[in-house]
């Protein structure tokens, strides 16, 4: 719509000096409006629920931000957190990307300086929408560099502002690294394009600066680290080496690498890990090519140049071999697992189940693309095609980015986020092209001599060039003849009308998707009552609040890692494992405790000083994201460490089914997770009628019995169940014996009297 107001240039005040000013003012107003729309469409969750932090990871970021604000920057930098990963603790300050927290902290202090004391929680909640406005602006800048059309940038900004692919990670309350990282990604790319275009050290320096900011904010910076060298490399291969490229790349690489090494979590990775070697390799290659180009200008001899070219090849091969040697010998770390699994898609499933277990690391089915991008998904290829028309250096960047990001988004759902900016840019280029053609009032004169479209090679048959080269033209086939224009008003109005309708549909789609799919905090669930009114299911917060009020400050809570950050953030209790997943063995230990019999689990829990066990159970409500459905991943991860004690096979029936009802395997029925989930559950139903609504299974008439744990709390809808780990028996009996005694069973005569009780005999 921005384009329409732009395109229908009435001659009054759109010409001359005043015209430029008017256009600039209009553009500013439109951009501010777009930013406002971007912010507004992200506020659904705040209006519907409340100003609350969403999901899982944001809770950690929020907790870290509070720590930063309360204890100052240097304490935050050196933060050792003994309330997670009990008993190991975590060197949090050195193992996080601090960009997000520092940004919020700065905003907080600036606002206080301006006598606007705003709660840090509100800053955290609203940070992502605020930055989405900036992202729209950055997209405008990036697109304006790509095309001469004045409307393309504004269209791209509007697309970026409301497309669900980006909203999915930036609604209010989604306080995650991506909230600021996408802005930094787009803005870094803009600065890079600017630097390459102008060959200016200043722009490249800014690019390095924002690259450093990006590194401090999100692990996805590796995408930039590899995309910029790839762009430079492709340009060299196309024979487009220029001093501009040399200046911008070397400046960016030198300053950017130094900047990235200031982040403790990144440290020496830029010179030691394979992920970053492409950037270093291209840096070296550029020096070689630059040297050769210089020598070429000094030496006229053709033979010498051939020799030199050979020399360059040899040096390049030798340097490459040297890198390979360093990698093999271990000086350079191999590809990190997360990054490697993008190329070898079967890798994670075999070697790193913890990565494969995360739902956002799954491959993307086509409906997800359409859901997130709607009509942009088919405008996108058209826009990329149009980049081939003039194919300047910056268009090469678009093409590379598009192909790579499409691949990544196809492999991993969450990387849709890196694809979205380029889709918006390319789609806006395609659409603005159409609007620019069909929204012109003046008609071409019929039969007039067509004007040359500024492409001399396309003009007339090429007689001088090679036969072969003329058979295969250098330009695109569709742009060989010059532009004439559209003759009839009917065509113009029909096409304009149609595309306006599509754009309106796009806005509706985006609003609908945002409102329905991406605005749920997932901490609070909403359901509809039969009369259509909204019912809030608040079990999570109920349970975390219970923990906060009724347990000791240092009571350790064991749960699956998904809930670690929330327990730390909302209940403020130490956890064994959390979403940071830095220690696979520790997670496997929890998995083993959950998937083993009580006799095995109890010593594990005692050794880790567990006081409470928290599980999520959706059987009553039909909430499918519960622990029984995640259980197989616990088993798999535990099996990775203890293949002899935990076996995935034992949790499947003889026919290979994963069941929870009467026919569940004994291992399943005896596992701690199963027992905790269904303990006392059949008391809710008439005898023998217990029903699991998630898995649609009828449960055994006799419910499981627990001897080493006791039920401490169950939330309103049974979503969260908390168990207390019993202390050792006062009389030195095992808990099973004590339980049998309580029930009045006769004690079995055991042949030998055991010595002092020990926890585990290894």
């Amino acid at each position: 719509m921005a384009a329409i107001s732009q395109g229908t240039g009435s001659k009054f005040f759109f010409e001359g000096e005043s015209g430029r000013n008017t256009r600039g003012l209009l553009r500013l107003i439109i951009l501010v409006t777009i930013a406002a729309a971007a912010v507004a469409s992200r506020l659904f969750s705040v209006i519907r629920f409340e100003s609350i932090i969403h999901e899982f990871d944001p809770w950690f970021n929020f907790r870290a931000t509070k720590y930063l604000v309360n204890n100052g920057f240097y304490n935050f930098w050196d933060w050792f957190d003994d309330r997670t990963w009990h008993p190991l603790g975590r060197v949090t300050g050195g193992t996080l990307y601090p960009g997000l927290m520092v940004t919020s902290g700065i905003i907080y202090h600036v606002l206080r300086l301006l006598s606007m004391p705003i709660d840090i929680r509100n800053i955290c909640v609203l940070l992502a929408p605020a930055f989405s406005g900036l992202t729209a602006f950055a997209t405008y800048l990036l697109t304006s560099e790509m095309t001469t059309s004045p409307s393309a940038g504004l269209l791209a900004a509007a697309f970026m502002g409301i497309t669900p692919g980006y909203i999915s990670r930036s609604v209010a309350g989604s306080y995650d690294n991506e909230a600021i990282a996408i802005f930094l990604l787009v803005f870094t790319f803009y600065l890079w394009i600017k630097a390459v275009k102008e060959g200016s050290i200043m722009w490249a320096g800014f690019c390095a600066l924002f690259y450093g900011y990006m590194v401090s904010a999100w692990g996805g910076y590796v995408f930039i680290t590899n995309l910029l060298p790839l762009h430079a490399f492709v340009l060299i291969c196309m024979g487009r080496f220029s001093p501009r490229l040399y200046v911008s790349y070397t400046t960016w690489y030198a300053l950017g690498t130094l900047a990235s090494m200031q982040v403790p979590f990144v440290g020496f990775l830029p010179v030691r890990s394979s992920d970053h070697m492409a950037a270093l390799g291209v840096f070296g290659l550029l020096q070689l090519v630059g040297f050769t180009e210089w020598v070429r200008t000094q030496l006229p001899s053709k033979q010498f140049q051939t020799l030199l070219r050979g020399l360059v090849l040899v040096v390049f091969a030798a340097a490459f071999g040297f890198l390979v040697l360093l990698t093999v010998s271990g000086t350079i770390a191999p590809w990190s697992g997360r990054f490697y699994s993008l190329w070898d898609t079967a890798y994670a499933k075999v070697h790193i189940p913890i990565i494969a277990s995360v739902s956002e690391h799954q491959p993307t089915a086509w409906p997800a693309f359409f859901f997130d991008l709607n009509m942009l998904i088919w405008l996108f290829p058209a826009g990329v095609y149009m980049c081939f028309r003039t194919l300047k250096d910056e268009h090469v960047f678009i093409v590379i980015y598009s192909v790579l990001a499409s691949y990544f988004a196809g492999v991993m759902v969450r990387l849709m986020l890196t694809l979205t900016p380029i889709v918006c840019v390319a789609a806006a280029m395609a659409l603005s092209n159409i609007l620019d053609i069909f929204l012109v009032a003046e008609q071409p004169v019929e039969g007039a001599q067509p004007q040359a479209n500024g492409n001399p090679r396309a003009n007339g048959p090429t007689t001088a060039t090679e036969k072969l080269a003329s058979a295969i033209p250098d330009t695109l086939r569709s742009t060989k003849t010059p532009v004439v224009g559209i003759y009839s008003y009917l065509s113009k109005s029909a096409m304009t009308g149609a595309f306006t309708a599509y754009l309106l549909l796009f806005v509706l789609h985006c609003t609908w998707v945002t409102s329905n799919a991406y605005s749920s905090p997932s901490v609070v669930l909403a359901s509809r009552l039969p009369d259509g009114s909204q019912h809030i299911i608040d079990d999570y917060r109920e349970a975390y609040y219970w923990l906060r009020q009724n347990t000791h400050q240092t009571a350790k809570v064991m749960s699956w890692w998904d809930y670690g950050y929330q327990i730390g953030g909302m209940a403020d209790r130490p956890t064994l494992v959390d979403n940071n997943t830095w220690n696979n063995t520790h997670i496997a230990t929890v998995g083993k405790a959950m998937s083993s019999r009580e006799e095995v689990s109890y010593p594990i829990m005692r050794q880790h000083e567990v006081d409470y066990v928290l599980i999520v159970f959706g059987g009553l409500l039909g909430y499918s994201g519960d622990d029984i459905n995640k259980f197989l991943w616990m088993v798999r991860i535990a099996e990775g460490i203890w293949p002899d004690e935990v076996k995935e096979r034992d949790f499947f029936t003889a026919r290979g089914e994963y069941r929870v009802d009467e026919e569940a395997t004994p291992t399943m029925k005896n596992s701690l997770m199963y027992k905790m989930s269904y303990y006392n559950y059949n008391a809710l139903f008439p005898a023998g009628q217990a029903q699991d609504r998630v898995r649609g299974a009828k449960l055994p008439a006799q419910g499981p019995e627990l001897s080493t744990l006791e039920e401490a709390f169950t939330s309103e809808n049974w979503i969260i169940r908390i168990y207390k780990v019993k202390d050792l028996d006062n009389l030195g009996r095992s808990h099973q014996e004590a339980g049998a005694f309580e029930k009045g069973n006769k004690r079995k005569k055991s042949g030998k009297r055991r010595g002092a009780r020990v926890l585990r005999v290894d």
């Binding site: 898609t345 491959p363 993307t364 089915a365 086509w366 409906p367 997800a368 693309f369 359409f370 859901f371 998904i377 088919w378 405008l379 996108f380 290829p381 058209a382 990329v384 095609y385 149009m386 081939f388 028309r389 093409v399 598009s402 192909v403 499409s406 691949y407 988004a409 196809g410 492999v411 395609a430 092209n433 159409i434 053609i437 019929e446 039969g447 072969l468 080269a469 295969i472 033209p473 250098d474 695109l476 086939r477 569709s478 742009t479 532009v483 224009g485 559209i486 003759y487 009839s488 009917l490 065509s491 029909a494 096409m495 149609a498 549909l505 509706l508 609908w512 329905n516 293949p643 002899d644």
Partner: protein
């Protein structure tokens, strides 16, 4: 698991005479046989009992397999060369017999009773049993063998080597050595040299093709369409190409947001492709047409194609996502 132990115990009195021979001799016999053949020992029901009977100071790794084509055990055939490779490299690396491990293979045709006794009823996959020594320095009191079921589709020797090593922790573990595949190297070298030769000869002709923008545009667009229509999902999840709808017909679109068929993604890619092509035509080709009438027709044809395709795309999306409220007129 208890049964083989009982079986061995039951066999014990019968073989009392044979047991006069010291068990060290037994191992030496097996080992020398293995060293000379560099393969696992083929056994049957009788020699199985002989080999695994109770007082033994050596370990036995028996692979129960069904190689006869009648049983149709694909995994058995896949794993058999790997098993022989493992036996060979273990024996080669342990010529003196320090690990005291015998590799044996029992085919179903020769050992029906043993199969029954270990409770193996299906023949779709092999089973590996490792019997620990019962006497000697590394003896394990528990008589039941360790069992490895090939259910997860393991068909490589490395994990099996690791598994066996884990169960025999105190004895030496000769490394698994894969023979160098000379043919592969030769083929690769020839191919590389041939490729270099071909390139150097054909370079003048190839260069204009490589530098051709249309080619690169086509490649880029095809990759983008491939990836944005969910090809990687098909590749990773190995979805079926197409499925029946239960009424004898074909179901082209899988139900559910997180599901898709191979054909479905191709249809979607084709739709995206048509829509993109129509957009390109409208943006680049139509304004270059000099005849007003032809141009008007072209505008309406391409505009109609976009409308129809987009409307169809939305209707397909409504199949995938039941609650989706938007549509465009024709479909």
């Amino acid at each position: 698991m208890r049964i083989p132990g009982i079986l061995a115990a039951a066999l014990l009195p019968l073989t009392a005479l044979a047991a006069k021979k010291s068990t060290g001799d037994r191992f030496n016999d097996y080992h020398s046989k293995q060293v000379s053949t560099l393969a696992s020992i083929k056994i049957d029901d009788v020699s199985y009992g002989e080999m695994t009977k109770a007082p033994r100071d050596y370990a036995v790794a028996v692979l129960l397999t069904a190689l006869d084509a009648r049983f149709g055990c694909a995994l058995c055939h896949e794993f058999q060369p790997e098993w022989e490779l493992l036996a060979k490299s273990w024996t080669k690396g342990d010529k003196k017999g320090e690990s005291r491990l015998v590799y044996a293979t029992l085919d179903f045709a020769d050992g029906k009773q043993t199969f029954q006794s270990v409770g193996k009823r299906t023949l779709s996959s092999p089973v590996l049993l490792v019997f620990q020594p019962t006497v000697g320095p590394n003896a394990k009191p528990d008589g039941a063998p360790n069992r490895f079921d090939f259910v997860t589709g393991t068909d490589k020797a490395e994990p099996i080597h690791a598994w066996i090593s884990r169960h025999l922790p105190d004895s030496p573990h000769p490394p698994l050595v894969r023979p160098i595949n000379y043919v592969k190297y030769a083929v690769t070298t020839t191919a590389v040299l041939g490729g270099v030769t071909f390139l150097s000869v054909a370079w003048p002709y190839l260069l204009p093709v490589i530098q051709n923008r249309n080619l690169w545009a086509a490649i880029s667009l095809i990759t983008i369409l491939l990836f944005t229509s969910g090809h990687m999902f098909n590749h990773i999840r190995k979805v079926p190409y197409v499925a029946g709808d239960g009424k004898g017909g074909l179901s082209y679109f899988a139900s559910g947001f997180q599901n898709q068929f191979g054909l479905e993604t191709q249809i979607v890619a084709a739709m995206y492709g048509i829509l993109a092509f129509a957009t390109i035509s409208l943006a680049l080709k139509v304004p270059r047409m000099t005849d007003p009438r032809a141009q008007q027709i072209a505008v309406f044809v391409w505009g109609g194609i976009i409308l129809g395709m987009y409307s169809f795309l939305l209707s397909v999306f409504r199949i995938k996502n039941g609650g989706y409220p938007f549509f465009l007129p024709p479909f």
